[in-house]
C-alpha cells in the first residue's frame, strides 16, 4: 500500500495526547467484546480462530505429549536399570526409544516453543490476532493429527522402531517391512506442515502488525527469538519435507533414492536429515533464549544489557546452525578438510552463546534479583546448559567425537542441552506467564519443589551417562551384559528419573490447584516491561482494548504511569487490525482478520486423512487432492470488506 495512516508520534507533538474519557473506554470495551466474542460450546471450540484459544490448546497438547514422551523415557530407564533386564524386549524397546525421540522433538519441543510464541507474540507486539487466523487453526489441527496418528499406531504395535532419525537403509522397505516407518514419515508430514504454518504466522504478525512505534530495535527479545526461529523453520524444514517424502516413496512406490543396490545412496538421507535436524536443535533452543531474557529482565527489574548484541547473537546462532550438520556424521567417510570446517563451525557457536550468557550475567549483576520459581529455573538453565554447551564443544572435535559419538556421552550431552537449555527456560516461562494465561498465580512453594526435584533428578539421571559413554556403552541398546560393569551407573541414572517424574507430578498439581486457589494475578503481577502485561489476565479475546503506541524498548517501564498512549479510531464492529511498516512500525493500513470457521478443521480432516491413506496406497494423495481443492476453493472465496473511514488518533488512557 502506498499510503501511510496519519498518526502523530511523540516526536511530532511535544504535548501529551488528549485523554480518553471513561465513557468512550466503556463503549469501546462493550463493542469489542461483542464483536470478538468467541462462540461457546463444541461448535465454538471446533471453529475458533482466536490465537489465544488455539495456542492454549497447542501448549496443553504439547505438554500431554511431553508427559507421554517422559513415560517412555521412564520405561527406557526401567529397562536399563540393570543388566540383562527383561522388562521389555528389543522389539518394544526399539519402538519406545523411537517414540521417545520423535515425540520429544516433533510433538513436544518444536510445537510448544511455537505455541508459546503464538500465544504471546500478538500480545507482545500489540495486535488483536495472528496474521492468518484460519491458517493458524489449521496448523493446530494438523499437529494434533500427526500426534494422534503416531500414538494410535504405537498402541496398535505399529510404532516406528528405526530411531527418531530413521537412518536408511534400516528404515527402508527391505529392513523394516510393515507400516511402522511409514507412520513415522507421515507423522513428519503433519508436523512439518504445522511448524511451517506457525513460522509463517509469527513472521507475518511481527513484521506487519506491530503496534505503532515498535521499530525493529524495540521488539522484545522473546519476539526476536520467535522470529529468528521461524526463519530457521522456513529454511530447515524443506530438507525434511523432501527426505521424508523420498523415504515414503521408496517404501510405498519402490523409488530407490536411498537404495545402494539400485544407484541410490544411503548417506544422502543423513545429509538431508541433519541439514534439517541440526537447525532443529536451535529451533528449540532460540525461543528458550528469548524466554530467559524475559525472565531475567522481569526478576532483576533491569533492562537486558546489550540488546543489539543479544539480537545479533541469536541471528548468528541461526546462521551457524545451518553449517553444522556434518558433525552428526563424523564417523562416515569424509575428507579431513571438510571435517575441520565443521569442527570450526560447531565450536564457533560458543561465541554467540557466550555473548548472551555474559550479557545476562551482567544484567543480573546490575539488578536486584528476586528468587522466584521462574528465576530459579533460569538459574538452573545456567548451571545445566553450560555443561551441555561445553560437552558440545568437546564433541565438535572430530577425534573426540569418534570415541563418544552414538554413545551415552552424547545422550548426556544433548539432554543437558535440550532439558537444561530449552525445558528449564520453558518452565521458567510457565511460571512467568501462567498468571497472564489464567489470571491466577502459581504456588511459589510448589514451584520451588518443582525446580529442585527437576534439577537434582536431571543431574542424577544424565551426569552418569557421560561416564557410561566413555566406558563404552553405545546408545540405543536394549540391554547390556553384566560383565560390562555399566550396571551401577545405570541404576543411578534410573533413580534420578524418579525425581524427574516426581517433579512433573508437582508441576501438574501446582497447575490444577492454582487454577482454583491461586492468588488473583492482576494485570502485571511481576511489574514486567512488555505489552502482554498491559492488558487484563487472562487477556480478553481482542487482546488490548486499544492498540498501544510504543515509545521505548520496555513500553511499560518507559512510559510513566498513566502515560501509555494508544491508538483510537479502529473499527470496533469488525475484526479490524492495524498493518504497520516493517522497519519503524508506522501505520500503513487497516486489515480485517478472518473470522471463525470450520474450514481449517475440514481441511485437516480431509487433507490429513489423505496423508494417512497414503501410508497404505498412493491413491490417498489423489483422492485427498480433490477434497482439498474443494475446501480451499471455499477458503479462498473472495470477500469484500469496505475501507474504514474513521481517522486514527493518538490518545492517552485515563
Amino acid at each position: 500500500m502506498a499510503y501511510s495512516e496519519a498518526l502523530p508520534m511523540r516526536e511530532d507533538t511535544p504535548e501529551p495526547p488528549p485523554l480518553i474519557t471513561v465513557d468512550v473506554e466503556n463503549d469501546v470495551r462493550a463493542k469489542l467484546s461483542a464483536t470478538w466474542r468467541e462462540k461457546s460450546g463444541l461448535w465454538g471450540w471446533l471453529t475458533s480462530t482466536n490465537h489465544k484459544s488455539i495456542a492454549k490448546r497447542y501448549i496443553i497438547t504439547a505438554l500431554i505429549f511431553f508427559a507421554l514422551g517422559g513415560l517412555e523415557a521412564g520405561m527406557i530407564r526401567m529397562q536399563l536399570s540393570r543388566p540383562e533386564n527383561r522388562f521389555v524386549g528389543p522389539d518394544l524397546y526399539n519402538q519406545i526409544f523411537t517414540m521417545h525421540g520423535s515425540t520429544m522433538m516433533f510433538l513436544f519441543a518444536v510445537p510448544v516453543m511455537e505455541a508459546v510464541g503464538l500465544y504471546l507474540v500478538p500480545l507482545m507486539v500489540g495486535t488483536r490476532n495472528v496474521a492468518f487466523p484460519r491458517l493458524n487453526a489449521l496448523g493446530y489441527w494438523m499437529y494434533l493429527g500427526g500426534g494422534v496418528l503416531l500414538y494410535a499406531a504405537f498402541f496398535m504395535n505399529t510404532g516406528p522402531d528405526a530411531g527418531w532419525f530413521a537412518y536408511v537403509p534400516l528404515s527402508g522397505p527391505q529392513f523394516t517391512p510393515g507400516k511402522r516407518v511409514d507412520v513415522w514419515a507421515q507423522m513428519i508430514t503433519f508436523t512439518e506442515i504445522a511448524a511451517l504454518i506457525g513460522a509463517v504466522e509469527i513472521i507475518t504478525t511481527v513484521f506487519k502488525q506491530r503496534a505503532p512505534g515498535m521499530s525493529l530495535n524495540r521488539i522484545p527479545l522473546f519476539v526476536w527469538a520467535e522470529v529468528i526461529t521461524s526463519f530457521m523453520i522456513i529454511f530447515a524444514l524443506p530438507a525434511i519435507v523432501i527426505s521424508s517424502t523420498m523415504l515414503a516413496t521408496d517404501r510405498l512406490i519402490d523409488t530407490h533414492f536411498f537404495n545402494p543396490a539400485e544407484g541410490g545412496d544411503a548417506l544422502l538421507w543423513q545429509h538431508l536429515f541433519w541439514f534439517f535436524g541440526h537447525p532443529e536443535v536451535y529451533i528449540i533452543f532460540i525461543p528458550a533464549l528469548g524466554m530467559v531474557s524475559s525472565v531475567v529482565e522481569t526478576f532483576t527489574q533491569r533492562r537486558i544489557f546489550g540488546y543489539p548484541a543479544m539480537v545479533l547473537s541469536m541471528v548468528s546462532t541461526a546462521f551457524l546452525g545451518f553449517g553444522l550438520w556434518v558433525h552428526h556424521m563424523f564417523a562416515t567417510p569424509l575428507p579431513q578438510l571438510g571435517q575441520s570446517f565443521f569442527t570450526a563451525a560447531s565450536s564457533a557457536i560458543s561465541i554467540p552463546s557466550g555473548v548472551q550468557i555474559f550479557c545476562w550475567i551482567a544484567t543480573i549483576w546490575s539488578g536486584r534479583p528476586r528468587f522466584t520459581a521462574s528465576f530459579m529455573f533460569v538459574l538452573g538453565f545456567f548451571f545445566l546448559f553450560i555443561i551441555g554447551g561445553l560437552t558440545g564443544v568437546m564433541v565438535a572435535s572430530v577425534p573426540y567425537d569418534l570415541q563418544v559419538h552414538d554413545t551415552f556421552f552424547v545422550v548426556a550431552h544433548f539432554h543437558y542441552v535440550l532439558l537444561g537449555g530449552a525445558v528449564f527456560p520453558l518452565w521458567a516461562g510457565f511460571y512467568l506467564w501462567y498468571p497472564k494465561l489464567t489470571g491466577r498465580m502459581l504456588s511459589e512453594r510448589l514451584g520451588k519443589w518443582n525446580f529442585w526435584l527437576f534439577f537434582i533428578g536431571m543431574n542424577v539421571t544424565f551426569f552418569p551417562m557421560h561416564i557410561l559413554g566413555l566406558m563404552g556403552m553405545p546408545r540405543r541398546v536394549y540391554t547390556y551384559l553384566p560383565e560390562m560393569g555399566w550396571g551401577g551407573l545405570n541404576a543411578l541414572a534410573s533413580l534420578g528419573a524418579v525425581f524427574i517424574v516426581a517433579s512433573g507430578v508437582v508441576f501438574v498439581v501446582n497447575v490444577f490447584r492454582s487454577l482454583s486457589v491461586g492468588a488473583p494475578a492482576g494485570d502485571n503481577p511481576w511489574n514486567a516491561p512488555t505489552l502482554e502485561w498491559a492488558t487484563s489476565s487472562p487477556p480478553p479475546s481482542y487482546n488490548h482494548l486499544f492498540i498501544p503506541v510504543v515509545e521505548g524498548r520496555d513500553p511499560l517501564w518507559d512510559a510513566a504511569p498513566g502515560e501509555l498512549s494508544v491508538v483510537t479510531g479502529l473499527r470496533t464492529d469488525r475484526h479490524e487490525g492495524l498493518v504497520t511498516s516493517i522497519m519503524d512500525a508506522i501505520p500503513e493500513r487497516r486489515y480485517e482478520f478472518k473470522k471463525e470457521t470450520i474450514l481449517p478443521l475440514l481441511l485437516a480432516v480431509f487433507g490429513g486423512g489423505s496423508i494417512v491413506i497414503a501410508i497404505f496406497s498412493p491413491w490417498g494423495v489423489t483422492i485427498g487432492a480433490i477434497f482439498t481443492f474443494i475446501i480451499l476453493a471455499c477458503w479462498f472465496w473472495p470477500t469484500i470488506s469496505p475501507d474504514s473511514d474513521t481517522p486514527l488518533a493518538r490518545r492517552r488512557l485515563p
Binding site: 544411503a266 549483576w365 536486584r368 572430530v398 563404552g472
Partner: protein
C-alpha cells in the same frame, strides 16, 4: 598408559578438577573403555579427553563463578534511586561492557585453542603409524561381523567372524562395508569408531601396543539386536598371531570317530549348511558366519555368550530366546543328533 613428561602439567591440572575426575576415574579401566587406551589412536584421544575436560571444567567454574558473584553482589546492593530503577547507571554500564568484552575475548581464545588442538590431534590420527600394516576386511551383517584376512593365494584366505586377531605393535588397516544396514565398528580401547555403510567402502586403522583381549561393539543403531553385536580384538605377539593365522588357514579336519561323523552328517543334511560354511565339507552357505574354526573362538552369537558346549546347545536349539529377532531360526534336533552335532562342532578348532 605411558605418561610422557610433557603431559605432566595436564595431569596436575586434572587433579584440580577432583569432583569430575573422581567420577570419571572409574571409567579408566575396562576392556571396552575409551579411557583405558591400548594403542596410539585411543591414547591420543584419551589425552585429548583430559585436556578438553580440564579446559571445560575451568571455563565452567569461571562462568558459574561470575554468575554466583553477580547474584551475590546484586542481592546485597542497597536500593538504587528511583530514576535508575529499570536502567543501569552509566558507571554500571561501563563495568558490564568491560565484563562482556573480557568474557567474549576469553571465549574466542579458548575456542581457537580448542580448534587447533582438535585439528592437530585429528591429523595425527589420520596417518597410519608404524610398519607395513596388516590388512583385514570387515563386513557388517545384522547382527554379526564377518572378518576376512585376504591373501594373494586363495587357499590362504581366512574367513572368520566376531573375533579379530592382530599382532601386537603392527598397525592394522581395516577395510569395511556392509551388506545390509549401517553399522559402526568401535573398539574403544584401540580407536574411535567408523561406520560400515552399504554401497560405500570405509577404512580405519589401529595398533594394539599391548597384548590383550579388547571388546568392541556396533555403535550405530542397526535394528533388533544392535545391543548384541559385539566382537573381540585379540592382540597377541607376532609369533602367536602367525600360528593362529596358519591354523585358521586349514580346512576342517575330517571327523574320525563315529560320534563326530554323525555330527557332520547332521550338520550337512540339516538346515545348518544352508547358511554356514565349513571349508573342506559341502557346507558353503554364506548367510551366517563361517564355522570352519568355530571352536577356536571365545564367544558365540557375536560376543553374546562364552563358547561352551552348553551355550552352543542352547543357541542351536533356541537362538530366538537369547537374541530375539536374530536371523537364525530355532532348530528341532533330537538329543542324540544334538550330542553328535556338538561333538562335531567341538572339533572345529
Amino acid at each position: 598408559m605411558t605418561a610422557k613428561p610433557n603431559f605432566a602439567w595436564r595431569n596436575a591440572f586434572t587433579r584440580c578438577a577432583l569432583c569430575y575426575a573422581a567420577l570419571t576415574v572409574i571409567a579408566c579401566s575396562g576392556f571396552q573403555s575409551a579411557l583405558d587406551p591400548k594403542g596410539p589412536r585411543a591414547e591420543a584421544v584419551a589425552k585429548l579427553h583430559w585436556t578438553l575436560t580440564s579446559i571445560a571444567t575451568v571455563v565452567y567454574v569461571m562462568v558459574i563463578g561470575a554468575l554466583v558473584y553477580a547474584l551475590w553482589r546484586a542481592s546485597r546492593r542497597p536500593p538504587v534511586p528511583e530514576e535508575h530503577h529499570y536502567h543501569e547507571t552509566p558507571e554500571q554500564a561501563a563495568v558490564m561492557k568491560r565484563g562482556v568484552i573480557i568474557g567474549l575475548s576469553a571465549t574466542v581464545v579458548i575456542m581457537l585453542t580448542f580448534v587447533v588442538v582438535s585439528v592437530s590431534t585429528g591429523s595425527t590420527l589420520a596417518k597410519v603409524g608404524g610398519d607395513k600394516p596388516l590388512r583385514i576386511d570387515v563386513v557388517g551383517h545384522q547382527w554379526w561381523w564377518e572378518v576376512k584376512y585376504d591373501d594373494p593365494d586363495p587357499h590362504n584366505i581366512v574367513n572368520t567372524a566376531n573375533e579379530i586377531h592382530v599382532p601386537v605393535g603392527r598397525p592394522v588397516l581395516i577395510k569395511m562395508t556392509s551388506t545390509d544396514v549401517i553399522h559402526s565398528f568401535w573398539a574403544p580401547n584401540l580407536a574411535g569408531k567408523k561406520d560400515l555403510i552399504p554401497g560405500h567402502e570405509t577404512v580405519t586403522w589401529f595398533r594394539a601396543d599391548s597384548a590383550g583381549t579388547y571388546r568392541g561393539q556396533c555403535a550405530e543403531f542397526c535394528g533388533h539386536q544392535h545391543a548384541k553385536m559385539a566382537f573381540y580384538v585379540v592382540a597377541e605377539p607376532r609369533l602367536e598371531f602367525e600360528k593362529w593365522l596358519d591354523q585358521q588357514r586349514q580346512e576342517a579336519k575330517t571327523p574320525t570317530d563315529s560320534l563326530t561323523q554323525t555330527g557332520e552328517r547332521v550338520f550337512l543334511s540339516g538346515t545348518c549348511a544352508m547358511c554356514h560354511t565349513i571349508s573342506g565339507t559341502g557346507a558353503g552357505g554364506t548367510v551366517g558366519p563361517d564355522l570352519t574354526h568355530l571352536a577356536s573362538r571365545r564367544t558365540i552369537a557375536a560376543g553374546t555368550l562364552p563358547m561352551t558346549t552348553g551355550n552352543l546347545a542352547g543357541w542351536i536349539l533356541d537362538p530366538q530366546s537369547i537374541k530375539p529377532g536374530v536371523k537364525m531360526p530355532p532348530n528341532q534336533i533330537d538329543p542324540q543328533s544334538l550330542q553328535a552335532l556338538l561333538a562335531y562342532l567341538g572339533t572345529l578348532k
